[in-house]
Symmetry: C2
Subunit: 315 residues, 2 copies
């Protein structure tokens, strides 16, 4: 598979234009290093880490790969600034920022020689990110797992919208679990893809085995975007989800929903494997996943499927 | 543009694997005939017609084109059976059924030598339609305009899911307003596309000029899927939409929503051009539409964009 001249590959120094998404409780050193070794961008998800834990993961990643890894930092976390310091100190030079204002850290990171990507959910935010000086935007559609934009733009409509709004490269996120979907994203105007859900169900992901199994057993209607009164989040349906939905149906307030959510539910579900009471963040494409390969095999599968898709299209 | 061997073209006797969606108040004889003349499947939308009006449109279509046109019949309408009779009497041999059980009429229509397509919103319904004997399914994603499935599957995830569930051809609907999106749908496993929203803003559509203009002025966040307590429907945001949303936020019941909706709102908005009080059914891709071409020019644009997209992918 040859991606010569692909701008995402050039800007990130990777072989294939694929980013392994930074995900809470799932993407530590092991997943990021395996991704980097396999020729894509490996990303440590700082969203579920205190600065000292992030430091440990970045140190560990260095022992697992000589290739660079990136860090994803949700900007609304109070530790964001400290996490950036830690990452810089550990030699990180690729940052993915999300869930916040791209103006906050972009100039600073660029002054340190970093490459900056920002996650957006609509063309207006994409333009704002471009104006803030980021190198690329990641456009995340309604089908994506975890936190999600309020406009509910699907990848099919979002990617062309963002593409025409800005000049810098667009990376498609949300709904990509197969190589044929990478090809579709390219048709829509993306220069690369960010893949989350597919990598949750790999050997190197830190997701609990129960969570990985739940993905294999998921069906087309296993996820839903909920908690729209707080921050919209796409969840795998379980007992906790049912309680959320029934509170929402009764007209529960944001405060009541916040109380029900409580603290530590994502950790409980995704890392500790409590499938009933945990919050299981996952994308709509989970039902397309039917094995738990190593990251290396997973990427081989994606590229093979991509190749076959392009060949079929040529005929 | 060569679609030799494309099964949708073969089964429907058309040059390009594109179906002009049957839409309430928008797709009468004029739009269907123009579509047929331009080499795609033209469809009269019976959903907003009494049987005698349908008869008039089918008679008129015959005076406008010698090519066959199809009829779209929402099965939950009480006139569905009578509409089928009228259509058969007027020589219609391609039926698109939606919003109901594919078992109700498929055998009967097949016994009359008809080609039957059924609209589905998830892989389970697709399998049911295949088992009922339909020739193809139209898989309609969350981004589509008008009535919509409850599972909220986006085209990006729905098409691969449906493709792997059945053996008959899959036609992608929802979010397709450009040729690059046709190419993307093909990557995802579709053998053809159904396009609605793009054709609303054509010269030959019966949509009111005000409605066509509103599409040209729409933005990425101009639509929303609402009325989920009744049947989910994607609407262009306007005063009526705001009243729906505020009633929903107050916890309004299905009965209250039904009362607010009342009767004739889609006609009021889409045909009569009342942009404030009318119900304006439209897809998320409306913001990608910036001109009102003839159907013939519209299809030329779609095919040119499709061709350019494939060429870019080859490089």
């Amino acid at each position: 598979m040859n991606f010569d001249g692909n701008r995402v590959c050039e800007l990130l120094g990777i072989r294939y234009p694929i980013i392994q998404a930074g995900m809470v409780w799932v993407s530590g050193a092991k997943l990021a290093a395996a991704s980097a070794e396999a020729g894509i961008l490996g990303v440590v998800g700082a969203g579920s880490m205190k600065p000292d834990l992030l430091a440990q993961h970045l140190q560990k990643a260095k022992t697992l790969t000589s290739k660079q890894v990136a860090v994803n930092i949700p900007l609304f976390y109070k530790d964001a600034s400290q996490q950036i310091e830690v990452a810089l100190r550990h030699g990180i030079r690729i940052f993915i920022t999300s869930a916040g204002n791209p103006n906050t850290f972009t100039s600073f990171l660029k002054s340190k020689g970093c490459t900056v990507l920002h996650v957006v959910s609509n063309p207006k935010f994409a333009l704002k990110a471009e104006e803030a000086g980021v190198d690329m935007v990641i456009a995340e559609g309604f089908e994506a797992g975890g936190h999600n934009g309020v406009d509910e733009l699907t990848s099919f409509c979002l990617i062309p919208e963002v593409k025409q709004a800005i000049k810098i490269p667009v990376i498609a996120a949300g709904g990509v679990a197969r190589g044929s979907q990478i090809a579709a994203a390219f048709c829509l105007g993306a220069s690369g893809v960010q893949i989350g859900t597919r990598f949750v169900a790999t050997v190197e992901s830190s997701a609990h085995e129960n969570f990985k199994q739940a993905i294999l057993e998921s069906s087309y209607n296993s996820t839903e975007l909920c908690l729209k009164k707080l921050t919209p989040v796409r969840l795998l349906k379980n007992k906790f989800y049912e309680r959320v939905v029934s509170l929402e149906k009764e007209g529960g307030t944001a405060e009541e929903l916040k109380a029900l959510l409580g603290k530590g539910r994502a950790k409980l579900g995704m890392l500790e494997g409590d499938l009933e009471e945990g919050e299981l963040e996952i994308g709509q494409a989970c039902s397309l996943i039917r094995n738990i390969p190593t990251v290396s095999d997973c990427i081989k599968e994606l590229l093979e499927d991509y190749k076959q898709c392009l060949e079929a299209l040529r005929n």
